[in-house]
Amino acid sequence: MKEPGARGAVARALFVQFFRREATTRYLGSVTGLAWALVHPIALLAVYHFVFTSIFRATGFAGSSFLAFVAVALWPWLAAQEAIQRAAVCVPGYGGLIRKVAFPHEVVVYASVAATLALHFAGYAVVLAVLRAIGEPIHLEGLLLAIPLWAVMAIAVAGIALALASLQVFVRDVEHVLMPVLMMLMYLTPILYPLTLVPERLRGWVAANPFTWLVARLRAALLEGRISFEVGDLAALAVALALFAAGRWMFVRLSPHFEDFV
């Protein structure tokens, strides 16, 4: 057997390879290329802006403009959503390898999640910088806190992705169920509206959503410039790690049987 150190090195080398494969075949192979990672969220943002400010004339966005208020939360949500959706179906794409070559299958999921999140984080930074440049009240130094917040999100997303990806191999319905579920979750998360607008008797439920915590922390950092550590952050990290551990446990249980089902 290989010694653990060498196996770690091999897994890292594989991760680099798969990461490159995920990133390049997804974006660089298409004509629109990397730009697509920016175009899609910007188009969504424009539509929301039109609907909420010109039609509903919504107010109460914690003193900032609707554009900045939504942009700060929309990008991480779309990143997480796309990462989960893509990772859920990523294993069959490596079917040829899984049937023929011995390698740690989970690396495939990590590479898929990392490629999506990295790309969207880059888009996030660009959009925030542009909003700041056109005079929106964005505190760019808040990105310092946004990085660890995204990292916590990545841990949780990886856990969810591991669970769904392993399930999808056996039950192909996962990807179909995922789409409406994620859409509903988006509207149940205070992304397009502040938590304060939620009726009081429901507020507890919405606040219990871990993504609500993430959105609140990002807004505090980027809209108000409050870069601080809170005790709640530890709880969030614990939740993310628990999700990861559960997802990985499930993946490890199911992955020895992938070979026969991919």
Binding site: M1, K2, A6, R7, A9, V10, A13, L14, V16, Q17, R21, T24, T25, G29, G96, L97, I98, R99, K100, V101, A102, F103, L167, F170, V171, M250, R253, L254, P256, H257, E259, D260
Partner: protein
């Protein structure tokens, strides 16, 4: 490659079940069973109770019919699938030449695919840095190295795959059939590599339908039948038992002969001439001489196989120079003479064909054959193909007028 006598590879009681899922609900039930750490409740057993051990230099041939579980066994050894029961212990590096190029990505260039394949094979980046040059040289792709491999011919893909797989310098090399890939000059490189590998103490786990190759290359053989070990032991014994079973089952002869390679040109071993003495007509029991000359492209003595088949194609007997530990004698730079004496021809009267085959010096591939007709003459009412030495005992002379009366 270590020189210890510790087994490189040990399988004990290995079994592999494949889940059988017929309904949609069955899939959910399967996931539930697997998550609880149970096996699938409806399963097909592909392997059961397979135990074997391989020591350095003791190559093993896996034989059996299609569907007997050979591929599953190789996948278990390669680590692609985990056995449902039993244990696999590996001391050393395993290289699998199962499907060359299966780890490649078509959009990547050859050079990028080397990185990817190396990572999949467990070559660390540091190790790859040392070996990259050798891989590139072996694959010999020239300027195509920087083209996406979707533009490669299948032969080029295989060359690249072989170059990466062998760079691993595995302790055990798993391969399906003897390497028969690429064009002829690349095949030669592969064979030369294999010779060096085996001579250097390398160990093969060969899955083959060619009993000839298994006998030639492997010390032990394992016969799988319906997922179980039917027989495991010295290669000659197991392959002969398998062939006997096979002949009994199908009534025909199985592939005990080497693989036939067809080819033209100066690279191919050939039989240049073949003659019988005294001639085409030989009396039963008289001596027969078979003489001929073989051509070898590289000046190394080829292996020559002389065989006799009945006119309808039924093989009667065949023997090769390497089986008897001899080699054809060199008469010119690329010419080798052979002469075989059969002092008293035991063939029963009838029409036969004498064939001479030229093989490569390793005796692995059969390149060419030449045949001449042979008619055995004589008066005999005996049946079959050959006269076996025999004697009757407790008999009296046959007398057609004596109609079976019992003498008291």
């Amino acid at each position: 490659m270590s020189g210890t006598t510790e087994p490189l590879l040990e399988l004990s009681g290995v079994a592999k079940d494949y889940a059988k899922v017929e309904t949609r609900g069955g899939r959910l039930a399967l996931v539930w069973d697997l998550l609880r750490g149970r096996g699938a409740s409806h399963a097909f057993t592909a392997l059961e109770g397979v135990s074997l051990s391989m020591r350095p230099g003791e190559s093993l041939g896996v034989i059996g019919e299609n569907g007997a579980g050979k591929s599953t066994l190789l996948k278990v050894v390669a680590g692609v699938i985990r056995p449902t029961r039993g244990s696999v212990s590996v001391r050393g590096r395993i290289g699998a030449l199962l499907e060359l190029g299966s780890g490649f990505h078509p959009e990547y260039t050859g050079a990028q695919n080397i990185d990817l394949a190396a990572a999949l094979l467990g070559i660390t980046p540091a190790e790859l840095a040392e070996k990259r040059e050798a891989i590139v040289r072996f694959a010999d792709l020239g300027s195509h190295l920087d083209d996406p491999i979707k533009h490669y011919s299948s032969g080029m893909v295989v060359r690249l795959g072989f170059a990466v797989a062998t760079a691993l310098s595995p302790d055990v090399l798993i391969t399906d059939e003897v390497l028969a890939v690429g064009d002829e000059s690349f095949q030669k490189k592969c064979m030369a590599w294999m010779e060096r590998y085996l001579a250097g103490g390398g160990t093969l786990l060969l899955c083959s339908h060619s009993m000839y190759h298994v006998q030639k290359l492997c010390r032990h053989a394992l016969w799988l039948k319906e997922g179980r070990v039917e027989r495991y032991g010295p290669a000659i014994e197991v392959t002969q038992a398998y062939l006997a079973w096979h002949e009994e089952k199908s009534g025909g002869a199985a592939a005990r002969r080497p693989e036939v390679r067809t080819g033209e040109g100066p690279d191919v071993h050939r039989v240049k001439s073949l003659a019988l003495e005294p001639g085409e007509f030989v009396r039963m029991g008289a001596p027969l001489f078979v003489r001929g000359e073989a051509y070898s492209p590289d000046g190394r003595a080829p292996v020559v196989l002389v065989g006799i088949v009945r006119a309808d194609g039924t093989p009667v007997y065949g023997v090769a120079t390497d089986m008897d530990g001899v080699s054809p004698a060199q008469t010119a730079r690329d010419r080798f003479a052979f002469a075989l004496t059969l002092p008293s021809l035991a063939l029963l009267p009838g029409k036969y064909v004498v064939r001479a085959h030229a093989l490569d010096p390793e005796g692995l591939y059969l390149f060419d054959h030449v045949e001449v007709p042979l008619t055995v003459t004589g008066d005999s009412r005996e049946m079959g193909l050959v006269r076996l030495e025999h004697a009757w005992r407790d008999v009296v002379p046959h007398d057609p007028s004596n109609r079976g009366q019992i003498q008291i």
